[in-house]
């Protein structure tokens, strides 16, 4: 990175402003990555995410697998000696990634979230069967989990019909505000 890049690091400013987390307090002790349960599946480690943001590498971070693999377990945030809430930063990076139009580093995870939210919008409460069907239709992977699904159905854990739902107007308003970008 040259000096002009450093002076124009709008990505760092963008993340700090959106998350309200002081990323510049990081001294790269790597405690976050050492305790991260899913680090093996990540392409850049949590401490490297912080560094890459400081370097202004927007695309590298927002198109990474890491931000979607993060399971929001909060171990990193709890153990950070500088009180950097990395779990919160990961949330912010996911939000920025969705808005950026960049291809997500993990295909199915953001699709699942979008299907999950569609399900809430439609029925207020999650109806597991329709959630799974919506997800399978989007990913076209019908066989994975089929045996487990049948077992759960057999035990009466999967209801055929959604529950009755009366909070529709509120949910509609909340989603319409979200779609218009309310509060941001």
């Amino acid at each position: 990175m040259n000096l002009s890049e450093a002076q124009n690091n709008t990505f760092l400013e963008e993340v700090v402003e959106a998350s309200n987390v002081n990323l510049q307090a990081c001294y790269q002790c790597q405690k976050c990555s050492a305790g991260c349960p899913v680090v093996a599946a990540m392409d850049i480690m949590p401490n490297q995410v912080v560094r890459q943001i400081q370097y202004g590498r927007r695309e590298k971070v927002l198109a990474s697998k890491t931000i979607w693999i993060c399971a929001s377990c909060h171990t990193c945030s709890v153990r950070c000696p500088n009180d950097i809430d990395i779990a919160k930063v990961m949330d912010t990076l996911r939000h920025l990634s969705l808005k950026s139009g960049l291809k997500a580093g993990e295909g199915e995870i953001p699709i699942f979230h979008s299907v999950f939210l569609d399900s809430i919008k439609a029925t207020g409460r999650i109806h597991e069967l329709s959630l799974i069907l919506r997800f399978k239709l989007r990913t076209r992977d019908f066989l994975k989990d089929a045996a487990l699904g049948w077992e759960m159905f057999r035990r009466g854990k999967i209801k055929v019909m959604p529950q009755s739902f009366t909070g529709g107007r509120d949910i509609k308003e909340i989603f319409s505000a979200y779609e218009k970008g309310h509060g941001r």
Partner: protein, 245 residues
Amino acid sequence: MKDVTYYPGCSLHGTAREYDESFRGVSQLLGVNLHELEDWTCCGSTSAHCTDEALAVALPVRNLTIADKYNREMLVPCVACYSRFIAAKEEAKEHPEYLLSPYEGKTSIRYALDFFCDKPLINELEAKKTKPLSGLKIACYYGCLAVRPPKLTGVKHYENPEHMERLMEILGAETLNWSYKTDCCGASLVMTRTDIVTALSQKIMRMAIETGADCIVTSWPCARPESRRSGPSRGNRSGTCRTCG
């Protein structure tokens, strides 16, 4: 008789219905009168907080606003919903612009496990137990969100909590010291990166077996299908969680 508001969340009405049954049973035994929150909707769960900061607050707060009509605590047995509620309550104070209608935030939100571990309920549980768990060696598994982030959960010993152990010992069980009681099982990735969830759950189950546990006890809905799915080998019942199978 103590009156509380009860937020079951989607899973206790669906895949975790046996948790709902046992939760209602224990509440009745202890004289806790559950009033299911009328007209409740999904808390938004992982998907809302991974997608949009305002939606992640607005969805849970819709329920909290209904709960504010009553002068009662709100009990939440699902740890994912609990986590979203306590986070949204704090965020709503900082960012009222995320909400469409005013929210007072006067209802206190209690995680079911913490609620039952408190005095006087834990003493009452001891007095009213009918079938002691004597002879059973238990590995108590808290997972992530029952303890983290401690700023919100208020759990003092978040790296090595022991309140569930106290509860199990009062019920007559022997509890074991083990390493993975607050380790992540990866639940939020269960539908998408099942390989990660399987690896993490197996690691946890193996450690429990190595410690000499007869079973793992969890206080939340999602751990059950995952632990069951990933028992060390199919057909090896000692490797599956007794609470679910």
